[in-house]
Amino acid sequence: MKLRNWLVAAAAAVVAMPLAAVSASAYELTIPSMDYRTGPYAPNGIPFANGWTDYWTMLNERDGGINGVKIKVVPCETAYNTKQGVECYEKTKKEGSGALVYQPLSTGITYQLIPKASVDNIPIHSMGYGRTSAANGKIFKWVFNFPATYWSQASALVKYIGDKEGGMGKLKGKKITLVYHNSAYGKEPIRTLEELSKKHGFKFTALAVDHPGQEQKATWLKIRRDKPDWILMWGWGVMNQVAIKEAASIRFPMDHFIGVWWSGSENDVKPAGAAAKGYLSGAFHQPGKNFQVHRDILKHLYDAGKAPHPDFKDRVGEVLYNRGLVAALWGSEAVRAAMKIHNTKEITGAMMRDGYEALDVDAARLKELGAEGLTIPVKITCANHEGPRKVAVQQWDGKAWKIVSDFYDPDMDVIQPLIDEDSAKFAKENNITPRDCK
């Protein structure tokens, strides 16, 4: 009997060993992709999702993953709907080896996921959107919003206006109007712009446009009556296209009309045609596909027939495509950093968070990644989850977007107190003790 038991045990071990090996090698880097390929915001959601997905997929095809570990991209359709976004999060967070990072591409969804992230130990990268005060890493341990927040962007755009007016002192008495999407996202810059208007003496007016923004004639009649010197726009989806057409119709000078970086894609200007020429928007990366990383994507995915969405080959290099790509590029560097810090290839969400917090992608590293000049260097610290805080302005020349300014630093004298105040309020409401980042 003993011999029989030994034989059974030996046989079980022989059978189990390869299974264990399979189980060990089954680890994949699970990256959820919160897409919106349907609904009214799909035209913007699609190129971002393609850029995000293509970069991770290209790493699989070109390099066999990251440090030999394959990447599994898990798409989930949010339709830019907060409720669906939360459902996607719940559905995908335990997918495969466990989700490593969420890029919700929606301020509304981000707000809902912030409390969940610290419970589930999964970092959120709300890249240039979401809750601005999450820049304070001492309080928002699980949220990263680099390379710049909406408040930084609002300040940078006001600096650009100041430059064009001949100095910040010339802003006194000028009229700046914000046309914003009437949502958590659209309202983000209002506080900053109010503070900046007090500091520089310009008259600030905010005009809301309700979702989706298909009809906004009355807003533009008000603008026609008030005759602002500059218009800023925090829009998304069809609101952008209609606003640009309305602005052109009332003959508002396009080079005095600046959108947030979510209002500056090819989709936004095409319906207005030639009338959109001169329109401006914020930017933190270059448009176009003249970078090695794009050549690699075209070669390893589209030309090799392995692109997840091959119909979009012609749109590689569009503004929102590049934004998704840059988000994935920074994410992949966070994976590498996490593997290095924890000396393992099988990282968890918590380890990924450490990777994000140790992120240091300088110009030299961008060059190694085939993205020299594509975007700005990023260095994240425990206290600063916003990173470089640099914003440029790009302009539509009728055919393509081109960066037309230097990168501006925001006015941190105005913004830092706002971040401290808002994040302290969040900490108090949620009983969070700020981390010691020394």
């Binding site: 069809v238 119709s249 119909d311």
Partner: protein
């Protein structure tokens, strides 16, 4: 005063744009008692089909092939044919099976149909923003702006002209033709219409085809303002308060309702804050800036008031039912 005039005119013209959407609803409701929830998506689908044919988009691949592009004179009739085929399919697969069913069942079928249209549009033509080029004028009417300082958008004048033509043709169709009378008979009572030999199926196909053509006009005019994209389907939401005001069965009601909503919402958005401050400002400290983004919900407030005092709308038939 000039600016006030400009606001009123812009409101009237915007109202006509809403009326165009409402017309499609009225047509189907008038003829079949069905509240066609999918009318907005039909407008989107029709416009997507037209722009797809114009730009040579290969269906299901979403890739434009200029050699397949069809000129407007052929693309428009082809789109109309597609909408007629759609009408036949709707009758064959949905309406035929729901004769004499409760209104709520028909309504739910229309909700489902809207999803089918949206999905089909997405699968066949893609989700991108598409630019429609039918040579429609854009921007302000330069002469009026340069000489009188009055701002009126040219595309809205085109919409007004289209609405006038549609209303005249449809009114004549309903009042003067045999088919029009049959349509009204079907709307009054399916069973009674059948008993006098009216073919319900034939009538439904005709009315859905006409609604498809109205949807095409609506989609093109609205699409010219924003590009053809999926948010176009949401214009249906603009038609609801128009229908409540004008009455679900009245073509003139759709026009008048649209005009009231258009003017009302523009005046509320542009002057509402100032009026409130002028009235209550002496007692309360009010920031007129908080009265922004009223443009979308003001129409629903008006509709609610109408529902309270005149639920059948301005031109609707008062329904008295034995309980």
């Amino acid at each position: 005063m000039l600016f006030f005039m400009e606001t009123v005119i812009s409101g009237l013209l915007a109202g006509i744009m809403y009326s165009l959407v409402a017309l499609g609803f009225v047509l189907i409701f008038k003829a079949s008692g069905v509240f066609n929830f999918s009318q907005g998506v039909m407008a989107l689908f029709a416009a997507l089909t037209l722009v797809g044919l114009l730009s040579g988009t290969v269906p299901f691949t979403h890739v434009d092939n200029p050699s397949f592009a069809i000129p407007a004179w052929a693309a428009i009739p082809l789109t109309i044919i597609v909408m007629i085929i759609v009408a036949i399919l709707i009758e064959r697969f949905i309406l035929r099976h729901l004769v004499n069913q409760e209104h709520i069942i028909l309504f739910m079928a229309m909700v489902g149909l809207s999803y089918v249209f949206e999905g089909a549009g997405d699968i066949i033509w893609g989700s991108d923003v598409k630019v429609i080029d039918l040579g429609l004028p854009h921007g302000a009417w330069d002469w009026l702006l340069d000489t009188h300082g009055l701002y009126i958008e040219k595309i809205e004048l085109v919409a007004a002209a289209a609405a006038v033509v549609l209303v005249v043709v449809l009114a004549a169709f309903f009042q003067k033709t045999r088919i029009g009378r049959a349509l009204r008979a079907v709307a009054d009572d399916h069973q009674a219409a059948l008993s006098v030999g009216i073919s319900l199926r034939y009538i439904w196909i005709i009315v859905w085809s006409v609604a498809g053509i109205v949807a095409l006009v609506t989609g093109v005019v609205w699409g010219a303002k924003s590009g053809i994209q999926f948010s176009l389907s949401l214009i249906a939401l603009k038609a609801l308060p128009v229908l409540i005001l004008g009455g679900f069965e009245s073509i003139p009601g759709a026009i008048v309702g649209g005009l009231i909503i258009g003017v009302g919402e523009k005046l509320a958005e542009v002057f509402g804050g100032e009026v409130i401050v002028a009235i209550f400002g002496r007692w309360f400290e009010i920031d007129p800036g908080i009265f922004t983004a009223t443009e979308n919900w003001f129409a629903y407030v008006l509709a609610l008031i109408f529902l309270l005092f005149r639920p059948q709308g301005l031109f609707g038939e008062k329904i008295i039912e034995r309980v």
